[in-house]
Symmetry: C2
Subunit: 344 residues, 2 copies
């Protein structure tokens, strides 16, 4: 695990005062609480519990916040419920988004519930299971030859030419507010956590949950985790400026972006205490451990938190850590390979 390095002279961001009084984010607690009111209950109050049998393996107490036991098998429904409700209330009928696969499923689901026309743009290299589910949920699926950044460009173009709403993950504040409702639930739990480990992709999950935790549970260290193979936002956080990369190489398709968004980075700089990078083999081991010791099918991005513990056990030793199991949309054949302890 490559830990984040704060520039010299920059104070650590551990106290609420430092994090949320001296600096502001685009998020507001009253808006997050209002978001909760419009989200379908299928996505709310998700399981949160200690997986005791992980402790001997990882050296710390691990709780999971399970965001996969819902109709779209990821946390993204929280944000799309907010967006789709607002659109329906405003009489808007059509929306397009780029998606690595999970946002598209969630927007398709939320849009279908409200009679919206949903278009999803995705890379044709996204997992087939995610693309199939987007189609099955009734959305129009547009595939691009490039990666997720190409899909983002094409979604912008569709929104412009068709004059419809563009939903931009992590930039559109509703996606962050939806994710932040997870933080409300964590902060209301009877347990308190020393650290929270959050998958870092576009940043909605980390900024949303991080904001809620820093507001309501400031003693919890907010640690973002990204693969070495897709490090753009982590590098940006470390250098306090947008850093892009020319390519990505990771099995964690859900977090494989190259162009961080400046507004999201600004929020992340306020709410994140650290951002770390992990290796592919740690992600795979994390997936296997979650199956063996917790009985959970998780997609690679959802194992990033466990991977971070595996790479820095001394850092988390004796702590009570919580990690968000953010998605379970895996290709079955690939998944069987990942959880095979005999894999090469």
């Amino acid at each position: 695990m490559t830990s984040g390095h704060r520039p010299p002279g920059c104070p650590p961001r551990r106290s609420q005062e430092c994090a949320l009084t001296n600096a502001t984010t685009r998020l507001h607690l009253d808006r997050v609480q209002a978001a909760r009111q419009v989200i379908n209950p299928a996505f709310l109050d998700t399981p949160l519990y200690v997986c005791e049998s992980l402790a001997p393996v990882l050296g710390c107490e691990v709780s999971v916040k399970l965001e996969t036991a819902n109709p779209v098998r990821s946390f993204k429904g929280r944000g799309t419920e907010v967006v789709a409700t607002q659109m329906a209330d405003a009489g808007e009928r059509s929306v397009v988004c780029a998606s690595a696969g999970n946002l598209g499923q969630a927007l398709a689901w939320s849009g279908r519930q409200r009679g919206l026309d949903v278009t999803v743009v995705a890379s044709r290299f996204a997992p087939a299971i995610k693309l199939d589910r987007i189609r099955a949920l009734g959305a129009r699926l547009e595939l691009v030859d490039g990666d997720h950044e190409s899909a983002r460009d094409w979604a912008v173009e569709i929104a412009r030419t068709e004059g419809i709403r563009l939903l931009e993950d992590s930039l559109d504040i509703e996606t962050c507010e939806g994710a932040a409702t997870i933080g409300l639930e964590l902060a209301a739990a009877s347990s308190s956590y020393d650290s929270i480990l959050i998958a870092l992709g576009g940043g909605a999950l980390a900024t949303g949950v991080g904001y809620a935790m820093k507001s309501l549970s400031p003693e919890t260290e907010v640690v973002c985790v990204q693969p070495h193979g897709a490090p753009a936002l982590t590098r940006s956080w470390q250098q306090q400026r947008v850093v892009t990369t020319s390519s990505t190489s990771t099995i964690a398709d859900g977090v494989a972006g190259r162009y961080p968004i400046a507004e999201v980075l600004a929020d992340l700089l306020v709410v994140a205490d650290d951002a770390v990078l992990v290796r592919e083999e740690s992600i795979v081991t994390g997936m296997r451990l979650l199956m063996e010791h917790a009985g959970l099918v998780v997609e690679p991005a959802a194992a990033l938190g466990i991977a971070a513990i595996l790479e820095a056990p001394e850092r988390f030793a004796g702590q009570h850590v919580v990690t968000i199991v953010c998605g379970s949309n895996v290709d079955p054949a690939a998944y069987r390979g990942w959880i095979d302890p005999a894999r090469p």
Copy 2:
């Protein structure tokens, strides 16, 4: 699937009047509602959602009630919370139960929370992962050479010689009342269900949930499912008398009993509309489908409902079916074999 055959002249049990006015069970709705008040929230309000991608495979809409996302990975905590609360309130300190593996984990967890001494008797042929977890949760584990019925005998003997509380699964009404709280949640859901498919073992789950459904959602057909390799309670229901078997042969270790309890059978005759048997290969296919299409790790007993649909697709065609995913405590190596589509 071998469907149940009602004796000639016996009216079908489809109406609330028939089921719960003309006949009574040991259960009472006010006690079930009271049980809910003492159960740790970690076991309550579990996820309930439609797994849309199962529909094209099974020919019906399938919802799952997920009882695995909790500290003991099965529904059994609902009942043991009730028992352990009552014991603590009464100043009782020690309890023994026989367990196929899941009840023992749950009782160990609930007892530990309340400072009780818990002894669990199990067959030494129970899955190692279940036995290991019972020990890890701090219970005294006693192993017997025989099967689950031998463990039941030995638990009775321990209770007698040590003068401690014997918890008998399905016979002790608290275990049924705990399970029945699942039915409260199902009946309160916004969806209504044509059928509910419930794993049938000792009978606590089926009589508890069946009672709540027949009381609150009488239009839902209550269908119990057991393996051909462990058919004692199903045969008993079909013949309206206790039928025992000399052995069991099934991968569904959680439901492999041979000696049905007369009181439990009496309740089951009131609340169950049908009891069916399924083949081992259908259970395995059910486990694989739940992994591939729902992202769920389930133990064999938790796939019985899907197995029943696989064996009688015409019966459930077009219905909205709900099944209780009652446990996920699987041996990882065995599980990898079960979900391998290339297995012999």
